[in-house]
Symmetry: D2
Subunit: 291 residues, 4 copies
């Protein structure tokens, strides 16, 4: 390794060995747990954060109906995809800015802060006009330029675990964001890919206590994408809270069977109401609260 | 396929197409949930079944100390390995019949029924003298002659999921046992093998509600083997109960750091006491009880 | 750990630390590569060993037709299942001893030594009457009592890799056999379980050079079970030989579409003939020969 | 799903059902195999394409030495990373434009076309000034905006398989590029993530014949990243060619032990020369040639 040459061209300062500095995400760097504030919502506190909303924003009535019900039932934030990462280019790609405007409208009416996915750095400014938190999806967990860009934006970031990412790689992806001066990162376990086919992915709930020990960042769980099946969302939500998660993100749709994406895994409004009711005593049993 | 020839040699009656009969393990065959009784313990009832004990039986004091504490804290059954399946032939292989006698003694003193692992059909009669329930370990989940043998024994069977087994394959392994006339099968999720290295295996808690829908058999969870780390046992036990498990199997040792096997994942007696205390409100929150 | 007590009960001699002795399977123990002789066939030599035959023995004509063709085309050994490990108890379980007699008859006619799977220790004596090599299937790779039993039998053993077994665990499974005084062990890579669904398993050909470096035992590859698709058998056979395998085991059936098991992955006789023809120059290119 | 509303806002034309049109990547769409031309190199022809070069461009001498040797030994293209996707932000991130200039200089001297990785759409124009082919790395296989951007660039694209991507998802990622009017896509298998730890990833060579049947696009293999170990590169290169690959991409470095990245898996110049020599007869054995 030709250090002199590297010094000449002025890049040697980037060659910092990991062991030379405490990782910003680690408990060694910061022992006490972090809170991430998204408008009036504090993620990481005793009160569980429930993020609810449809997979994709489809139209005004759909979104407003979900938002109002979610608010009334005790959810803290609204989710909804406007730019959707889809396996096939022939699948519904989201409403784009039209969807963002609807999210913003729903927030204005209900007061629920909005989280939505960002797929490319060039759209961050646009998203910042309408949303309160940026989601980095599983497929982009190691999209390093995007991580740096959301880091520079200073907006709260929901960083989902990659389907193929170890917990350690996930922590290092978060490190990219913190290193740009943005400490507002929330981790979200959403299932990993395994040989099992009965579920869409395998929800790795042990990741919650593993992370809790290693990092001060708040930790959420997404049982909808992990399981891919609405029947499994309620038990896995309760399990996630019992395992110590700071909250959950749940896909809710007024009419899941007609959804433009993820129709098998979204709860309808009644199912979501039932889940919130069942979740309350579980939250209390582990020293948390829903309201 | 030469059916006539097969008929001639008298084996055609084995060629039953799966679709021709309801699987004995399925809800289609039996809609209501099964109870499996092991002496005075009913697995599958409202009362959670906690099976506690050391990975390996090592000596009298070790086992009796665990058994007495487990009994006092509300455990229903005692576990302990006498014949151990070990990756390397140079590792401790268990005390064999000496260990069985100690298990039997601990049962006589505490009244806790005993479950222990069976590695080969030739040992079933011996095990039946000392134990109340036979465990089929993960590595033997598709040891079909052994499944048939425990089926013929009619003893209660704890069937652990293979590290590489789909839920569907696991159900079919249970089918082998039921088909021999033994309905006393309890399933036990213990983690599957994935790329993640932070835990020994990945505990697939979604398997609990998936199985609940498909089968009438009781379902337990083993958070000790799944995680391989004592810190993770308590959160994953609570998560398992919240996901709907009928109970858990937990490795407990008076002095884990000196254990002959699995020293990283066994709880000590204080940790187990603390877990039982924390578990009680969680059990109640999902309509279960510990006592 | 109470060593004194363990000594008293006479089991301390089993507690040998792995580091205290060289593993019998390792290159440290034996630097030069081993040959395993099965009758007149030497596995591990410059001449590649091609084992061909049907998944299951079904009837005399089926087996004899395959055996004669295999012999004529340059195969060295005959395979065929008589006792079949099947995921479901409702699937064809093999002809049992009837099948063994047919295998023996085919060997007598063609001179090809026979390998067939053993599922339980109690059948080893029976199998020894008819077969020349015992196969331990993927599901039994960690059936330790069975490994010890085939070890004591001293018969040549074909040890398939478990679907979820690391290479290291596989080596240690072989160690169980060698430790009983049986050095005649051949390893056979047959695919591991992954998330990919386009193939039945994922053939891990890198295991061949990894093993070559670590162990002196011969190494075969089974492209039929690994891929589960007849179209893929020829390219993966050529790849296996190029990666350095000492031979391959290929499923061949006179009429695959009518096979009682694995109908999708068995080659018909013409496909096998074509493969043998294409394989010859590849073998030569890597310093091997087929005849 | 409110189609009328979607029509109103003008996005309904994006909602094309996959079944409505043949996938552009499929053999149904184009039966004959495609050639992708990168300057004077035709990928997909009888002549195998060998892409060689260091993991990261480090300095002029390093790169030129590799390029000259590669050219002399029969390689067709030069690889080298200037913008590196690194798990940790504290690892060497590449020389950036300095590296691109060196790549361009090496091309000018040797005539070898250059392929280098693109991490973000905003850098495509810059890369286009210096490189002849853009690589989409494993972590960006489902970075859909980036796929669309390289599609619009019309430059030849080397699309690596994601570590946890099914073959089907990989094909659909390629579809994103073709759909933008860029047919110049080459697929590159580079190993998938499994439980096995003896290799960095598990090289899925069966993907080569699976893809060959489904798609007309050329297929390469990267044994360096797949295995992570220089000892395994030669056998797996020969295996890849035997499995039907159109070429390979191999990491070569004048002094691997001093490399700034991937030091364990890069071949030195002598190892590369030896591999090229050994590969020649294997190529011929499967109807291919190296020169």
């Amino acid at each position: 390794m030709d250090m002199d040459r590297l010094k000449e061209i002025g890049i040697v300062e980037r060659l910092v060995h990991p062991a030379q500095k405490a990782q910003l995400t680690s408990r060694e760097f910061q022992a006490e747990s972090s809170f991430v504030n998204v408008e009036n919502v504090s993620i990481g506190s005793q009160k569980l954060v429930i993020i609810a909303g449809p997979c994709s924003v489809e139209h005004r009535e759909q979104l407003l109906e979900v938002a109002r019900t979610a608010k009334q039932l005790g959810a803290s934030m609204l989710r909804g995809g406007a730019f959707k990462p889809r396996t096939s280019p022939y699948e519904f790609q989201g409403l784009g800015e039209v969807g963002l405007r609807l999210l913003s409208e729903a927030r204005d009416e209900t007061g629920l802060p909005v989280v939505t996915e960002v797929l490319e750095a060039g759209k961050i400014d646009l998203l910042a006009q309408y949303a309160d938190m940026l989601q980095i999806g599983a497929r982009n967990m190691q999209n390093f330029p995007l991580l740096k860009s959301v880091g520079r934006s200073k907006m709260p970031v929901l960083l989902k675990r990659g389907m193929m990412a170890t917990i350690d790689e996930w922590m290092q992806a978060a490190e990219y964001i913190l290193l740009e001066g943005n400490p507002n990162v929330v981790l979200c376990e959403r299932g990993i890919r395994t040989f099992e086919k009965a579920t869409r992915n395998t929800l790795d709930l042990a990741a919650v206590p593993v992370l809790r020990k290693q990092t001060h960042l708040p930790i959420l769980v997404d049982p909808s994408h992990a399981t891919g099946s609405r029947d499994l969302v309620a038990p896995m939500t309760k399990a996630a809270v019992s395992a110590g998660a700071d909250g959950v993100m749940i896909e809710v749709h007024p009419s899941p069977q007609n959804a433009l994406s993820d129709s098998h895994q979204q709860l309808d409004l009644d199912e979501f109401a039932k889940l919130m009711q069942e979740l309350e005593p579980v939250a209390r049993a582990v020293g948390r609260r829903l309201r």
